[in-house]
Every structure is written in C-alpha cells, then in structure tokens.
C-alpha cells in the first residue's frame, strides 16, 4: 500500500529559521483567527449576565411590585407578579382602598394589553414613521409663537385625569400660556357629583338604575363592602334595585323592579315622597334611617335629598367635590368650530371613535392645523391626526393617579417600555420646554415638592413600595351643594347606552381575553347586541340574531337583537366599545359601534328610538345556550327569615346523596392535607373576574368566535347564569363552576391511560403529557368543566405573537393540541406555599394558599383551604347549614361545595 502523503517529509521538523518573534506572531494570528471564526457561530444576541445579582432577584422566584392601573382616570391598586423582569400576573393590592386585593376583568386583562403586539410602536407624522425629535423640533418652533400669543390656539384634550403630577404639569402649562386650554373627555365618566358610599354600613340599599357592583372606579370596593354586609346573620343587608336593563347589581337584589327610564323617574319621585309604588321601599328606608342609602347617579339630586333627609350623609354616603379639572368637551368643539384652535394635543383618547356623534370629530380634526395624538394604539383618531406618538403603558412608566376616594398611588413601572413610547409627562414637559427629563424625575420632583421634609427618600420609598401614598390629601375640597336637576324622562321607546362588560368603552377591543369573556348576562362573546325584553321582541316580531336598524335622533346603526330576560319593556340597551375600525386585528370589525348613535344631548340614551327590522341575520355566539335549571337545584336559594328558623332549609334540594359507607370499597383516607373550596353564592356577584384571573394564571388560550360557536371555549372556571320564575322578571343567579375535584371522580375511572388521577391530597390531577385525548373523561364529567385543546390553540392567531410568550406563567405548563385540561385548584400555588412552609419548618397557614379565582374575587365568595384542618375557614364553611354539593346525588363527593344563597325580602313589599 502506498503511504499516505498527507504529512510530507519534513513536516514534523522544527524549522531552523523560526525566530521567537515570528513564533509569537503566528500564534497570535492563529488565536485571533480561531476566536474570530468561533464568534460567528454564536447567535448574534447580546447576553448580559448579572455581574452582581440584583437584590431579591432569584431566578424562578417571582417578585411583586405595587402599582396601579386606571379606569376612567381613577386608580385601582395592583400588585404585579414578575418573573425575571417579565410581568406575568396582575393582582389587586390589598393596601389599596379601591381594590383591597380584589381585581376585575379589566385589571386582569390589562396584562394582555401591555403585551399586545399591535400597540403603537413608532412616532407617526402624516402616517409616515417619524421621530420624537422631529416632533419636539416642531413644538419648539410653535412654542415661540405661544410665548407671544399666550398660548392662544393651544388646546389639550385628555381623558379624565386624577394624576397629581399630570394636573400639576397642566396647571403650570396653563399659567405659562394663559390663552391655552385643557379639556377632558371621559366617554363613560360619571355624570354627576361623586358620591362615596359605605355599603358595609348600610342595612337597606336602594339603587335607582345604578350598577354600583359593576366595573366603575369603586366597583371592587363596593363589591367587597356589599358582600361584607351580606353575611347571613342578625343583620344582613337588603338590596332594592330598580333598573331598566339587567346588571349584576340587579341580580343581587332582594327586590328587583324592571322599569323603563320614565317609570324609573316616577318611582324615584315616589320614593322621595314616600308614596305610590315606592311606599314600601320608602318605609323600609325610613325604618333604617342613618343605616340606609339610596345609590344613584342618574337621579343624583333625588337620591341626595333622600339620603340627606334620612341622615345617611356622613354615615353611609359622603358627597365630595367633583375632581373634574379640565373644561368640557363642548368648549373645545366650539373653539375648533370658531377656528380658534391651531394646535390640538390629544393625550390618551379616541374621540373620533368614542366622542359624541353630533360633534363630527372627523370633520373637526380637519379644521385644526396641527393635531398631535398620544395613545397606546394608533387608533381611529390617530389616523386623522398629523402626529401620533406611541404612549407608554401604565405599567411601563412612572406616573401617579388617585383612587375614587382620593387616595394617591405612585405608579411604578414593572418593565422597560416594550415598544418605546413616551409618557404623558414627557409630552407635557416638552410643551413646558423643561429640560428633557425622564418620567421618573418628573414624578419624583412633584412628590418631592409635596414632601419637602428631609426624610423624603424614606417616604418616597415607602409610598412606592406600598402602592399607596400615606397621609396625602392636599386640599379637601368642600362638596358641591347643588347638583344638577334630574332631567325629566319622556315616555316612548328608549335607547340605553351602557359600558361593555368586555371592552368597556372600546379601549380593550384589541384584548382577546376580554373579547372572549362571556358577558355576565347574555354570555355573548366576540360581539355586542341590542338587548330587548321578551314582550318587546314579540311585539316587534324579533328573534335573537335579527339585525335591526336603530334610529335615534337622526342617526342610525344596525345591531343584532338579543332577547334579555329582565329587560324593561320598550327599552333597547346597546353596549359601546365595539365596531372598531382601527383597534387592531383582534378588535377590528367586532360588533357594531353604538357610539354612532350617541349624541352630546343624550349621552346615556333617551326616548325617541325607532326600530326597523332589516331582514338580515347576524350570528351571536354565547357560551351558555340554556337558561333554566330544569329543576336540578344547582343554585339553592332560601330567605333570611327561613334561615333563622331552619338554617339548613335553603341548602336542601336535589336527590339525597349516598352515604359514605354505602360502598363495598374501603374509604379512602386523606391523612395529610385535603384541599377543598367553598363558593358562597350569597355573596358572589357574578362579575366573572375569576374567569379571567384563571385565564391569566393558567396560560389558558383564547380560541376565537368560530371555535366558541362550536362549543370549545377553554375557560377553566365559568360563571353559570340562571333565570328562574319566568323571563319577564326573572330571579337571576350566577354560579362559578370550577372543577369539583370529586373524591369519587367519574372522569378518573374512564381514562384508559391513567392521565387523570387522584392525588393523596384529594386533587383530581390532569397529567398532560400522559393524555392521549380520548375525551372520555369529559363525557363522564357531570359538571362539564373539562376543556379540550381541539386544535393547536397555543399557536392560533391570538396566542402566536412572541410577546404572548413573555407573559405566560412559567409555573404552568402550556398545553398542546389533543390534550384535556381543567382547573387544578392552582396546584402551582399550592406547591409554592408547601415549599415555603417546608423550608420554614412550619405548617401551612390557613388562607396562605389562594387560587387565582379566589384572589381576584371582589366579594370574597371563594374560599380555599385544608378541610382536614377543622380550624380552617373552608372546613368551617363546609359545616355551615347552607353548604351543599352540586349534583352530589351522583355520589361524586365534590371537594368544591357551595353555600346556598339567601334573599332578604321585605315582607311588606310583597303585599304592597
């Protein structure tokens, strides 16, 4: 064989002429080359390891930051859970008076808005990408003119603002440019003098068309206070609700009357005079003078006079000065029409979409030579503005805001702005021509001015940490004495314009969690509808899904009909917040735009509506197709009087469930923990916060309208809604239904591969990676709480964006296609607490484990704990005479049980 000539002769010899210098040169070059080639193989990303570990940051351990989110300008304190800098979950801040640890669907879903990949990402000038510097250059020019003219022609339009820093900046701007002006427009802002109710102190509550438990600035607080006063006992509150369209407040009422607005007005006047239809209610109020309250915004002046005459003011209600700082929208519109505006700066808002239709914003904006728009989204308004600046999300920058009761919160960011963006404070600082500073400096400077004390640093840190600024209330303003008179209501077919429980005023239209959140009454998802009563529908020969043309004050909109039990006759309710055209791929074209028929003289609707059938049909998709209990006693209801005599009567119902010893098999012993949940239907207000909280916590995918129509929504906890005793004036009940974690779980014995099994602590567990997807478990689940990933939902258009992956809870598996899933009792939270307790060598404390649904619940209706621990709240509640198991006659022995609902009717009312 020929020898291999790869190494020719002499290769191994050391060349004689190689000097030390040359050797080093060659070595140096080869090392440089070797490392250069090595470099190109690495991904071109910069990874920056911690040189020094930040304090408290332990990989895998979440950190919580106290901050706040605003709705309608008012702060609701939150704690944001972050994993290695990524916010993954929003909870209420227990220290904050507007939250007390609870949250609603909007707070929960704000996380998704934060990570929305379709948020505005660049400065736009006439639709072209531009820069912040270009805008500041233009504004510096403009400022020269404003200096001479006193800011004539400069107008600022914002939503309702409570931020002390913002208000201070605006105040300084207006003093610098006295001719400039600031206007506020909050599409769904309160109409009248703010009243602060103390529902926990009220034994009789009368609501005149007011949905105080619904999402408002104080909704969570009122929910908590109301629930506290609802505990069955000697003093359980009594709620009267008179309303035109069903609300969750009405569903909680002991007496609910459905009335059209003109009847409602008559009732309000009767209530004041204590006569007629309202006599029994008025008597009840009088009996509880000082411990009762009339809640109303619509009939503010009447409610206030009654509260004053009963001596409720100061005990159950406080009237405070309106916080409104800016001018009305009317003024701005008049100025623009006069041609007196040359620069309009819109700070967060979408007046083109949500402004009164008669103001014709599209035309108005054309009359202003320079329009600048700052918002999270390049929305409808942005398209017609000369400049658009992406705004930082509330959780991305420093700011502050005040709660409904005036409590201030310093809002701290929880992450760097994802898409760049500028805050309102930066824009105002630019207008003020102050040195370019960060929002942090601006906010801090304001608060430093409030606390000039030497220990400012300490108080600042404490305020930021707590999420509440202690002892700060600069000028307690005196309540306004006169409130505007109630407008008389004319009879006729009424249009009622209401906020959406899903998109609010349209700002959440691009949020898939909220689009797929079933409305608490209709359970419609991905749509809004025109709600009418059964008799009105029959009179007009309308069926669900029929498209009608609603003509109101010269404007019209086409809307699909939904027959709403409990709706007052001759009233059509429309929810705003749909029919967006520039919301983003999720929200565009969903539903119809009810703002199109909203005019400045009838912001909440009014009489004179005409309904014409168009002959078209629109498919409305609901998550619940049946409204009756079919005599199956899912929600058990009794009265307080009955409860006092026979405590267990309310919980009776259903067939008797088999006794534990009626089996040949030995009883399963749970020696350690035995987890259980009790849901109190007496306090559950049916708001659905649990559904979205669960979705956020457990990485539950959104499936879209078409899949929901097929019955494939993925919510692990749903809120069932029942109408009993007829469809004209029904008793409405809401019932959250998570997995029951049955001790005799029917799902477990039918799984052929043991993918759903029982834990030693009584959890019914899904082993995702063992599941082959026979779906037998779902068939055999009498509660139908199991959810199946029919298609690759994790990769659909809603879940695909990379940013969605950032916000997922790292402690919860993202499930793949073809796998069953369901409520786990938040097993990741159970285990986290178990680990903590074990490390501290102590027992788990009662209430230490809080599933996401329970944590969000404003009414504290969901309790979770160890039923083996007789001192735990759950064990005590399970012993309550009101406790019952859903479908317990099937011998499932559910670990989730319910407390029967109690009503507290006025015995005199029924006879009246």
């Amino acid at each position: 064989m020929r020898s291999c000539d790869e190494f020719q002769a002499g290769t191994g010899d050391w060349p004689n002429d190689l000097s030390r210098r040359r050797f080093l040169k060659l070595m140096g070059a080869s090392i440089a080359l070797a490392s250069a080639t090595g470099c190109t193989r690495n991904p071109p990303e910069h990874i920056v390891p911690y040189v020094r570990q930040p304090e408290d940051l332990i990989p895998g351990k979440p950190l919580y930051f106290a901050t706040a989110l605003t709705l309608g300008g008012f702060a609701r304190g939150v704690l944001v859970e972050t994993h290695e800098g990524r916010p993954t979950k929003i909870e209420g801040n227990p220290e904050h008076p507007a939250s007390l640890g609870a949250s609603d669907v909007f707070m929960q879903a704000e996380l998704l808005s934060l990570f929305d990949p379709e948020r505005s990402q660049s400065v736009l000038n006439h639709g072209q990408i531009s820069t912040w510097d270009a805008l500041s250059g233009e504004l510096i020019h403009a400022a020269d003119q404003w200096r001479n003219s006193g800011g004539a022609g400069l107008r600022i339009l914002s939503r309702h603002e409570t931020s002390p820093t913002f208000l201070d900046q605006v105040r300084r701007l207006l003093s610098k440019y006295p001719q400039a002006n600031w206007h506020e427009y909050e599409p769904l802002g309160t109409r009248n003098v703010p009243a602060i109710y103390h529902l926990d102190k009220a034994q009789v509550i009368v609501s005149l068309g007011e949905d105080f438990l619904g999402s408002g600035p104080a909704g969570l607080r009122y929910g908590r206070d109301f629930a506290r006063g609802r505990a069955p006992g000697a003093v359980m509150n009594r709620l009267y609700v008179v309303e035109s369209t069903p609300t969750i407040t009405g569903a909680m009422a002991d007496h609910r009357l459905a009335m059209s607005p003109d009847e409602l007005e008559r009732f309000a006047r009767d209530l004041e005079s204590g006569t007629g239809s309202a006599k029994a209610v008025a008597d009840d109020l009088r009996k509880h003078a000082g411990r009762s309250v009339v809640v109303s915004d619509q009939f503010e002046s009447i409610a206030r006079r009654i509260n004053e005459s009963l001596g409720n003011v100061g005990s159950t209600v406080d009237y405070v000065a309106s916080e409104r700082g800016g001018g009305e929208l009317h003024g701005l519109v008049d100025d623009i029409r006069r041609g007196a505006v040359d620069t309009l700066i819109i700070i967060s808002g979408n007046p083109l979409y949500d402004g009164p239709a008669d103001f014709e914003f599209a035309q108005l904006l054309g009359k202003v030579p320079r329009t600048i728009h700052l918002d999270l989204y390049a929305n409808e308004t942005a398209k017609l503005c000369h400049w658009h600046v992406p705004e930082t999300h509330t959780l991305e920058g420093w700011t502050d805001a005040r709660a409904f009761d005036g409590t201030a919160t310093i809002i701290q960011p929880v992450l760097e702005p994802l898409y760049g963006g500028r805050s309102r404070h930066e824009l105002l600082a630019l207008l003020l021509q102050e040195a370019a500073t960060s929002p942090y400096d601006i906010v801090r400077a304001f608060w430093q001015a409030q606390h000039p004390a030497a220990d400012f640093e300490k108080s600042w840190r404490k305020s930021v940490h707590d999420g509440v600024v202690a002892n700060w209330n600069p000028k307690p303003s005196a309540p306004e004495t006169a409130s505007p008179a109630t407008q008389p209501q004319a009879p006729g077919t009424h249009l009622l314009i209401r906020p959406s429980s899903q998109t609010y005023d349209g700002r959440f239209a691009n949020n898939p969690w909220l689009q797929e959140f079933p409305d608490p009454f209709t359970t419609i998802v991905w749509d809004n509808a025109a709600l009418v009563s059964l008799s009105t529908a029959q009179r007009l020969n309308l069926a669900n899904g029929d498209v009608v043309r609603l003509k109101f004050r010269g404007r019209s909109v086409d809307a699909p009909i939904w027959i709403m039990p409990g709706q007052a006759n001759d009233c059509v309710t429309v929810h705003v917040g749909y029919g967006r055209t520039h919301a983003g791929s999720v929200g565009n074209g969903v539903g119809f735009n009810a703002f199109a028929v909203r005019t400045s003289d009838a912001m909440w609707g009014g009489p004179g509506l005409e309904i014409a059938k168009t002959g078209d049909r629109h498919e409305l998709v609901t998550t619940q197709q049946h409204w009756k209990m079919e005599g199956r006693d899912q929600v058990r209801v009794g009265t307080l009087a009955e409860f006092k005599e026979h405590p267990g009567k309310a919980a009776e119902g259903g067939e008797p469930s088999p006794r534990g010893d009626e089996t040949l098999y030995p009883a399963v012993k749970y020696d350690g923990h035995a987890w259980g949940m009790v849901i109190d239907l007496n306090t559950c207000i049916g708001c659905g916060a649990c559904t979205i909280a669960c979705q956020a916590e457990n990485n539950i995918p959104v499936v879209g309208k078409e899949q929901v129509a097929r019955g494939r929504e993925m919510h692990w906890i749903r809120v069932d809604r029942y109408f009993e005793s007829g469809l004209t004036s029904p008793w409405t009940s809401h019932q959250p239904v998570p997995c029951m974690h049955c001790e005799n779980a029917p799902c477990e014995l039918v799984c052929p591969v043991a993918a759903t099994v029982h834990s030693s602590e009584g959890l019914n567990q899904m082993v995702y990676n063992r599941c082959v997807g026979t779906r037998y478990c779902s068939n055999n689940c009498p509660y139908k709480v199991r959810r199946f990933n029919f298609l690759e939902y994790d990769a659909n258009q809603f879940e695909q964006p990379v940013t969605r992956k950032l916000m997922r809870n790292p402690n919860v598996t993202v499930r793949s296609r073809g796998v069953m899933e369901k409520c786990t009792y938040c097993v990741q939270r159970i285990n986290a607490v178990k680990i903590t307790a074990e490390k501290a060598d102590r027992d788990i404390r009662d209430g230490e484990i809080i599933p996401a649904c329970a944590q969000a619940c404003p009414a504290e209706a969901i309790s979770f704990g160890d039923i083996n621990d007789s001192t735990s709240r759950v064990a005590k509640l399970r012993k309550s005479p009101l406790n019952y198991g859903l479908l317990a006659e099937l011998n499932t022995r559910p670990r989730t049980t319910y407390l029967a609902r109690l009503r507290n009717p006025n015995p005199e009312f029924d006879h009246a």
């Binding site: 009756k628 039918v750 799984c751 779902s778 068939n779 509660y783 796998v819």
Partner: protein
C-alpha cells in the same frame, strides 16, 4: 330431492367440477369485468378521499371534526360502533351456524367472514383517529414502558382494545384457515406462473390428503368454537364504553344484549346488501339462493324485534326509574333537537323491518335489498342517537350544546365505505368468494341424499 327451488341452498344439477369452475372462474377468467373496474374505481376514489381527510386530521387536529364540549365523542365513535356491529354477522354465520350444522350458511360464510374482517378493519381505524394525539395510541396497550405504567384497567376503552384486537385476530385466522383448501384449488387451476406461485405460497402446502382434511376440520371446528363467544363478547365490551359511564342514556344494563342484537341485525343487513349484487353480477343465483336471503331476512327480523324490545325497555326504564336525568334524556331524545334522528331510527329499525314478515319481501331480492339499506342507515342513526343525544344535554343545563358533523366527519364516514368496498372488490378479484371445498361437500351431500 324434492325441495322447492326457493328453499334449496344450492340449485340442482351441479357436480364437483362445475361448482369449482363456476366459483374459480370469477377470479381466474380474464378479462377483468368492466363493472368490477368501475365499482373499484369509485370505491378507491372514496378511499383516497378518506386518506385526504385523515391527512388533514393528523395535520390540524381533531378539531376539524364537529366534536366539542359537551359532545366530545362524535362520528368517529358512531362509525366505530357501527362498523364493529356489521362485522358480527360474519362471525355469527361462520361460527355459530357451523356449530349448529346449518348447511345453508355454506355459500355465504366466506364473503361474510371477509366482510367481518374488512368491517373490523374500518372500525379499528376510528378509535385511533378519534384520539387527540393518535400517534400515542399504543399507550392503551400493556407494554413494558420506561414509565413503568400500565393502562388504566377500570376504563372500558382498555377492554375495548382487547376485545377488538382479539376479534380481529380470531376472525383473520378463522377466515384464512377456511381459505387454505380453496387457495390450493386456485393454485391448481390458475394458468399464469405468478398466480401459481402466489397461490402456492398462500396455500401453505395443502395437498388435500386425508390427514390434511382431518386436521383441517378439527382446527376449523375449534376456531368456530373460539369465535362463537366473541359474537357475544365484542359488542358487549363495546357497549361497556357507554354503559360504564354515568351519562344518562348510556348508563344502562340493557346495553350489552341490546348492542349484540343490533350488531347481528346490521351485520345481516350488510350480508344481504353484499349478497344480492354479488349473486346478480357474477350469476351466482344457483349458489346464493332465495333460501339464503330468506334465512338472512328472518334473522334480521328476529334481531330487529329484539332491538325494538330494547328501545321500549330503555324508554320504559327511564320513566320507571324515576331518575329525572334519565327521563329528561328520553324526552329530549324523542322531542328535542335531535328528534328527527330518533324517529328516523324508529322508522328504519322498527317499522320498515316489519315488511319482512311477508314472504314476498323475503324472497324478492330487490325489496330485501331496500329493507337492508334502511337497516344500515337505521343502525348508524341509532349509534348517532345514543352517542350524541345522551351527551348534548346531560346534567348541567348550562353546559348543554349542539353537535353537527363537519364536512370532514362526513368525508371520513363515506371514505370508510370506500375502504370497505375497495377491500371487498379486491377480495372478489383474488380469492374465491364462496367456499369451494364446502360447496363441493354440500353438493356431494345433496347428491348422496338425493340418491
């Protein structure tokens, strides 16, 4: 022999040679029949359609079907139960009637067994496709895996795997053993080399010696004995998929006998559906006689009455049990959104079959064919009603829903007919559709008896 023609199991005037020639000619005589080509083309096109539907299913997921929550089982399970049921007649004919010495089974047992096999093959496909993650189907099998995990034996689906697996295996062996002497005949009679080699290998060295025959008869009888309990067990186990669940409309002890009767009912309907065209197109009226059709029709009538009794008992018990869920389910089945399906099944399975009381219907191939088609549709509808109406409104009214099959559901169902038909066409082309050896036996016996 003085038997009337309509009651004869084989027409007179045949001897060993003519029987053999007539049956083997179907396979061996060129050219390929045009009707066969056309039929096979249609069947194969349907099969390709199913392949396409299955490909899309594997790519996209089971969500392309109409299944949802609460109706998590849909067409796949309906089709599975239907196909398994159809298979039953084959085993019934070949095993039970053999043990009962029913000589009329001879000319139809071969293709009835083939029908069983192909029906079970179609049926077996559906539970696999039905899975959310079909590629992990083997987790239902007890095999020593690294997770040290066995199937969950309390689940009826695991029993199903064994029942269907056993059924397929035994049916295959039984069918093949019966074929061995005939394949040898084919080997001997085929004129091309390739056919001789293939039939030669498949005939396992059969020489027709007396010893061969002795062992053959012993084995065939033993296998018949083994297959007999399967007729009862397989569909009983399949019915346990439903009966062991707590779902109203499923949780019922009547299910096993009622399913078995339904299976034999639809199976015989399929036998009739296949026999009538075969005897027509291949001119086998002399072998598959009116007597056969008459007997099949009688079995259909008997089993049809059994399932009618089942329906009545089921409805009565749901009222008599005083169980509100059961009673609601029954009312909902009869008058709810799926009422048309329920009354269709009553029409097909109870009313139309009563025509078979008349001898004129039993002895008229055309009429019997129509009745059999009604029964096929009725039995599919029955499974549809059982699966869908029970699930769509069970315990929680808030979770009630509606199920409709999508186009993919229908494509898979119709495609499975294509698979069945394709296999059957191929079977007719390559194997003797009627048992030659048994027919020779029969002719021999008859001539002996007539002498």
């Amino acid at each position: 022999m003085s038997t009337h023609l309509s009651e004869a199991v084989v027409a007179p005037g045949y001897d060993n040679e003519s029987v053999t020639a007539k049956i083997t000619d179907v396979v061996l005589s060129p050219p390929v029949h045009r009707g066969w080509l056309g039929g096979f083309a249609i069947a194969f096109a349907l099969l390709m359609m199913m392949n396409f539907a299955i490909g899309w299913l594997l790519y996209k997921g089971v969500g392309i079907w109409g299944v949802n929550i609460p109706v998590a089982w849909g067409f796949a399970i309906v089709n599975f139960v239907w196909w398994i049921g159809i298979g039953h007649a084959g085993t019934f004919i070949s095993a039970i009637l053999l043990l009962l010495h029913q000589d009329w089974r001879t000319s139809i047992n071969r293709f009835a067994e083939a029908m069983t096999l192909f029906a079970v093959a179609c049926a077996g496909l559906f539970p696999l496709l039905h899975l959310g993650r079909p590629w992990l189907f083997y987790w239902l099998l007890p095999y020593p895996d690294t997770m040290d995990l066995w199937p969950q034996w309390r689940s009826a689906l695991v029993w199903d795997v064994f029942a269907v697996g056993t059924y397929f295996t035994v049916s295959l062996i039984f069918w093949y053993i019966g074929l061995v002497p005939d394949i040898a005949t084919m080997r001997d009679r085929s004129r091309t080399k390739i056919a001789q080699v293939i039939y030669g290998i498949a005939s396992l060295g059969w020489r027709g010696s007396a010893r061969h025959w002795k062992r053959f008869h012993m084995l065939y009888l033993l296998l018949a004995g083994l297959a007999t309990p399967l007729v009862l067990s397989v569909h009983s186990v399949v019915s346990a998929d439903f009966a062991t669940a707590i779902v109203p409309g499923w949780h019922s002890t009547i299910f096993p006998p009622y399913f078995v009767a339904g299976a034999v009912f639809s199976g015989f309907a399929m036998v009739v559906t296949l026999a009538i065209p075969i005897r027509r197109f291949y001119h086998l009226e002399d072998f598959i006689t009116i007597r056969h059709l008459d007997n099949c029709a009688k079995v259909m009538l008997a089993t049809g009455l059994m399932i009618a009794h089942g329906y009545i008992t089921e409805a009565f018990m749901s009222w008599y049990s005083d169980d509100k869920y059961e009673w609601f389910m029954t009312q909902n089945r009869m008058f709810g959104p799926y009422a048309p399906a329920y009354w269709l099944l009553i029409l097909c399975n109870i009313i139309v079959i009563q025509a078979v009381w008349f001898k004129r219907v039993r002895t008229s191939p055309g009429l019997l064919f129509i009745v059999a088609l009604f029964v096929q549709v009725g039995m599919w509808t029955e499974r549809y009603v059982i699966v869908i109406t029970s699930l769509h409104r069970d315990f929680m009214p808030t979770a009630w829903g509606i199920f409709h099959g999508t186009r993919w559901d229908w494509m898979t169902l119709i495609g499975s007919l294509g698979l069945f038909a394709s296999l059957f066409f191929l079977f007719l082309r390559v194997l003797p559709a009627i048992s030659i050896s048994e027919m020779r036996d029969l002719v021999h016996q008859k001539s002996e008896a007539g002498r």
